[in-house]
């Protein structure tokens, strides 16, 4: 390709990005952009009406996604993306509501909301970009930092247990649970497509490199080194028991689709219960009659 042509070439997902906000703030080697690309690809393939989708982000590096996608989007406060999405979904049950946020936001400060949305089987999709630390503020130890890994607030290693997010999601009641890494681009896309076709609380964890903070502080090299780690140490085990998915420092990464089941959503339960106790005077609320 000639240089002039390259300059003319458009970003393949430009129709889904707010190009006036580009260049983005993510570091070279960061995996968040990769997940956004997978998401765009999934949107494209799913042929979803772009007017019927809303993206909600919290705070942090991944929290910036809401500002970059050219869709209805909300950049909420730290940890509150899920309750915000819950309100959005209940006011507009016809919308596909996607929470796109980081591990610090979803499993740390917003952990309570995460388990309760899963418990209610709220019909939303949560994409959690897990880079093992609070990256935006400079790489502090998080609820997902593997034991022994260094962080700015754990300079000689983390001694706390960390969350296994798929296990937490399933235990709390999620009906679709998958985990991938930034290397598994097509798998991430496929999982997002699948989740778009499911009703209920879908959770997709994507493990991504944080080159500037996590990798550098742990002397793990650059983005490519981390992708090599994912390549060498990840193992696809669909349907694996989520109790076996703990991540140890630079240890094995079990990835795959672990949970894919159906059960009534929050709105189904509400409609069923109120129809039973109130009888005919109750008007069903939700997708088919708003």
């Amino acid at each position: 390709m000639k240089k002039e042509d390259r300059l003319e070439e458009k970003n393949p997902i430009e129709n889904l990005l707010r190009m006036d906000r580009i260049p983005h703030i993510w570091c070279p080697g960061c995996g968040i952009g990769t997940v956004v690309t997978s998401f765009a690809e999934a949107l494209h393939k799913s042929e979803i009406d772009l007017d019927k989708i809303a993206i909600v982000s919290g705070i942090g590096c991944t929290g910036r996604v809401a500002g970059y996608v050219k869709l209805d989007s909300f950049h909420t406060t730290h940890g509150r993306a899920i309750p915000f999405a819950t309100g959005l979904k209940l006011a507009h049950p016809e919308l596909k509501v996607v929470v796109f946020s980081g591990d610090g936001d979803i499993a740390g400060i917003g952990g309570n909301h995460f388990i309760h949305a899963a418990r209610r089987n709220m019909d939303i999709m949560v994409i959690c970009v897990n880079n093992f630390n609070y990256a935006m503020t400079g790489g502090q130890v998080a609820a997902t930092t593997p034991k022994d890994a260094n962080a700015s607030t754990a300079p000689y290693g983390n001694f706390e247990y960390s969350f296994s997010l798929p296990y937490l999601a399933e235990a709390a009641g999620a009906t679709y649970v998958a985990r991938w890494t930034a290397l598994h681009l097509r798998r991430v896309t496929k999982s997002i497509q699948e989740a778009f076709n499911r009703r209920g609380f879908s959770f997709i964890e994507v493990i991504t490199p944080c080159v500037t903070l996590y990798a550098r502080r742990n002397r793990l090299g650059d983005g490519l080194n981390l992708l090599k780690y994912y390549y060498e140490k990840s193992e696809i085990q669909h349907g694996a028991d989520t109790r076996t998915l703990d991540i140890s420092y630079q240890g094995k990464l079990i990835v795959g689709k672990f949970v894919d089941k159906e059960k009534p959503t929050f709105l189904d339960c509400m409609n069923e219960h109120l129809a039973k106790v109130l009888g005919e005077k109750y008007q069903l609320y939700g997708e088919n009659n708003d």
Partner: protein, 393 residues
């Protein structure tokens, strides 16, 4: 040994923390205060401090840890900013209500929405009725000095009230400055050993903290809680004086700059006061009688002292780095104007809101304010009581 060190605002606070070595430190990362926590984490990991360092899952939990640790009888601190302080809001009232002498460094930052990480005073001004003593710093040296004094004030037996020390986000927190770091032992000696009152760890005297209190006694208890902050002014003054005797930098409720024969006065807190001093110098060289009054302590507010300092001015401009939607003016302005109410002869007074979300305020802006004050003094009329500086409208 006392030494000059090049530190930014966050490191200055961390340096004071290292010297004081509180029993428990709990904080959650938030820009621009994160570096305080990180530096403390490093001190802890390197064995330079003995206090327990906790990384909770939110600011709400961080303040809860502080309250638990302070109730147990520990000397406790935290650091946060903006949304983090807002998330602590519920617990701020508990800390003050239980009269727990917790000390917090607050790196002043604007409040969402829209999200912005730069400095203004919306966060701490939002907490002004929570019962905490509030002290503001102009530069890194003051942040360091104020933080050390905060423990003495908070823990004084007549006060026993939490104290927050404000320093402007980025402008101070991330700016390097050469500051005098006092000798470790001298600082420790100045702060002294902490003697908790009614600690939960005193198992021979069993006690319940914070039980339910209805219409029968709640009002009396709330009233008695206020005694701490009401008793604090002489303590704040004495601690500031003693600090001066010991380390050569004396502190009061506010600083007056070239106020001796001033007829016009600009009132501004924190980092902007430094810029204002340059503006005052320029104005003075042009023969204009303008002075600066820089409040340091906002809670308890020194109404009487400030009113006495301002009563003979012809015109006063109060600059707030915060707005108070629907109020008669921004917080600093309403306090000062109210303090002047009882004086038969009082200056014309106007309010300017400046620097929201970190918008810069420069020497030229202060000079504009001064020229407006000149006009007010000349005509005796105020056309606009409330307006903005450096805002596109």
């Amino acid at each position: 040994m006392s030494a000059l060190k090049t530190l930014n605002g966050n490191q200055s606070i961390a340096e004071a923390v290292r010297q004081i070595d509180p029993d428990v430190l709990a904080a959650y990362p938030i820009t621009p205060s994160t570096a305080i926590v990180e530096t403390i984490a490093k001190f802890k990991a390197d064995g330079m401090i003995t206090g327990e360092f906790v990384c909770p899952e939110s600011e709400h939990s961080a303040m809860s840890v502080c309250i638990g640790a302070a109730s147990a009888g520990g000397r406790v601190m935290t650091a946060t900013a903006s949304q983090g302080l807002a998330l602590m809001w519920e617990m701020l009232y508990i800390a003050a209500g239980l009269r727990l002498p917790i000390v917090a460094a607050i790196v002043n930052r604007s409040m969402s929405a829209p999200i912005n990480i730069h400095g203004d005073h919306s966060d701490t001004m939002g907490a002004r009725d929570s019962g905490w003593i509030q002290i503001y710093s102009e530069n890194c040296q003051e942040a360091y000095d104020n933080f050390i004094q905060a423990f003495r004030i908070a823990e004084h037996l007549d006060v026993r009230t939490p104290v927050l020390v404000g320093l402007d986000g980025f402008i101070i927190s991330h700016s390097m400055e050469v500051i005098q770091v006092e000798d470790d032992d001298e600082v420790k000696k100045f702060v002294g050993e902490y003697m908790p009152l009614y600690p939960l760890l005193d198992t021979s005297n069993k006690m319940t903290v914070g039980p339910i209190d209805f219409t029968d006694y709640y009002f009396e208890h709330k009233r008695s809680q206020l005694e701490g902050i009401e008793n604090s002014p002489p303590v704040i003054e004495a601690v500031g004086k003693e600090f001066g005797q010991k380390f050569g930098r004396e502190y009061g409720f506010f600083e007056e700059y070239r106020m001796d024969d001033a007829e016009l006065c600009i009132v501004v807190m924190s980092s902007a006061a430094g810029t204002c001093k340059d503006a005052i110098d320029e104005l003075r060289s042009e023969g204009k009688k303008v002075g600066l009054l820089k409040p340091r302590v906002f809670r308890p507010f020194p109404h009487k002292k400030i009113a006495e300092a301002l009563k003979e001015m012809k015109a006063v401009a109060v600059l707030d780095r915060c707005s108070s939607p629907g109020a008669f003016g921004a917080p600093l302005f309403t306090e000062i104007r109210s303090g002047l109410y009882d004086y038969a002869e009082r200056p014309r007074i106007v309010n300017y809101v400046y620097g929201l979300g970190g918008r810069d305020i420069k020497v030229e802006h202060f000079k504009e304010v001064a020229s407006k004050l000149e006009k007010i003094a000349e005509t005796g009329t105020v056309e606009e009581i409330y307006s903005y500086i450096n805002l596109r409208e």
